[in-house]
């Protein structure tokens, strides 16, 4: 089973690489949004706004990037996967793919964003840790929402409609944590937030792992 899982995750990446234009499209989407934000704010941006703006951009980017987690698969191919692997294995492969994709995207975005808008007097390690944890949480939740949205009538608009409300608790925590990191605090000074976020992510992962088989079956 482990072998199948690795193959499947690798397969998702190979497929992504075959459709490079989609990935670079996402990078361009982030870069263009960041550039617009840079033009709009004209460098008069304080640390808290800097952080909030970054997360709003990441929220929209991740909704866009992860919509294709399930929506891009054709019906025929879905059936093919269905006959090959069990639902949990398939879900985990999609999950790993989504998390890694979003981590890459967020690192690129962070580089472009801090290059254009400047860097606040932040605690880099704890900001990076908060970001990585937060992005993992967004990826896990949105992969599940993508699976749900792919089964509904109006698919692409459903992703944002279903995703945003569910993401609010997680986003509030992430923005709070990274706002502290932006103000120079180290993660050791706000362990409560970090533990709560980790627990929330673990819960989202466990729930989606249990519930996914119910969605997958047509």
């Amino acid at each position: 089973m482990k072998n199948i899982f690795v193959h499947l995750a690798a397969h998702h990446f190979r497929q992504e690489w075959k459709q490079r234009h989609a990935f670079f499209g996402m990078v361009l989407y982030c870069a263009a949004t960041i550039f617009i934000a840079y033009l709009a704010f004209r460098n008069s941006i304080d640390a808290v706004t800097w952080n909030a703006l970054f997360w709003i951009i990441m929220l929209f980017a991740s909704v866009n990037a992860l919509t294709k987690s399930f929506l891009s698969e054709s019906r025929g191919r879905q059936l093919y996967y269905y006959s090959l692997v069990s639902a949990p294995v398939f879900y985990l492969s999609k999950l790993v793919y989504g998390i890694i994709l979003m981590l890459i995207l967020s690192v690129i975005s962070l580089v472009v964003y801090s290059g254009l808008n400047g860097v606040p007097t932040w605690n880099f390690t704890s900001y990076f840790l908060s970001m990585a944890t937060g992005i993992t949480g967004l990826a896990i939740t949105l992969t599940m929402i993508s699976a749900i949205a792919s089964r509904s009538g109006s698919q692409t608009s459903m992703m944002a409609i279903l995703g945003f409300p569910v993401l609010i608790p997680m986003l509030v925590l992430i923005i709070r944590m990274s706002a502290k990191a932006v103000n120079g605090f180290s993660i050791a000074e706000f362990p409560k937030d970090f533990i709560l976020l980790a627990a929330l992510i673990a819960m989202a992962a466990a729930l989606s792992y249990i519930l996914f088989p119910y969605i997958w079956r047509e």
Binding site: T141, R151, G153, P165, I168, V172, L196, M203, A204, I215
Partner: protein, 220 residues
């Protein structure tokens, strides 16, 4: 038709809530004054909503286990009733906030949690209406409601306790229990919760029955 005992209990408790809620003595406090009575009509709305949403969640889980259409009908109607109580809670809270805090809405963890919960259930109802096939609709929306409810509970129950909040009972702001020294308010508050919850269940039950009749009519 004979009324079931719990419906009679609901009527009795709600009459008691309204009469005792407006007429009994309450602690005299600065700023709050008589608005403290909102405890019986605002706080109870949220309790009722959480309880009835829990019923909806349980029926969602039951549906995934049994695949009985009946369970899905209950899940849908209880969620709709919960939304109504959520909106009532929002309105009663907003009126209270205008008179005590001076604004209809403040940026506060507890208030935002309430708003987010309503958003989630609007999304749930939208998801339901976007899927044609009844079996698929029931399955997918049950999954969404389980996922969403769990995330929301964290938001409403845990997050406000970690932040500074204006809302009574949070962030060093005393809740009613510290004013209610002789337990007089509790004597109305707890029956009020039970009364409103029973009313909500009653509304949901009537809606389920209407739903059932409609299905029957379509089948004939």
């Amino acid at each position: 038709m004979k009324l079931q005992w719990w419906k009679i209990l609901a009527i009795v408790l709600l009459v008691y809530t309204v009469v005792a809620g407006f007429l009994t003595d309450v602690p005299r406090l600065a700023i709050l004054h008589e608005s403290i009575r909102n405890l019986y009509f605002h706080v109870t709305m949220w309790f009722t909503m959480i309880i009835i949403m829990l019923v909806s969640l349980i029926y969602g889980i039951k549906y995934l286990g049994s695949r009985k259409h009946e369970h899905d009908v209950v899940a849908e109607e209880t969620a709709k009733t919960g939304v109504v109580f959520g909106i009532l809670g929002l309105i009663t809270g907003s009126v209270w906030a205008k008179f005590t805090w001076g604004a209809w809405w403040v940026n506060d963890a507890k208030l935002n949690g309430a708003a987010a919960t309503l958003l989630v259930y609007f999304a749930y109802l939208l998801l339901r209406s976007s899927i044609e096939d009844p079996e698929k609709r029931a399955r997918i929306s049950a999954v969404y409601s389980i996922f969403a409810y769990s995330m929301m509970i964290v938001f409403i129950m845990i997050l406000p306790r970690l932040t500074v909040s204006l809302h009574p009972g949070n962030g060093g702001n005393p809740g009613f229990s510290s004013y209610d020294l002789d337990n007089k308010m509790r004597m109305v508050f707890y029956p009020a919760i039970i009364g409103w919850t029973l009313l909500a269940l009653w509304i949901a039950e009537v809606r389920v029955r209407i739903h059932r009749l409609r299905i029957k009519e379509e089948n004939n």
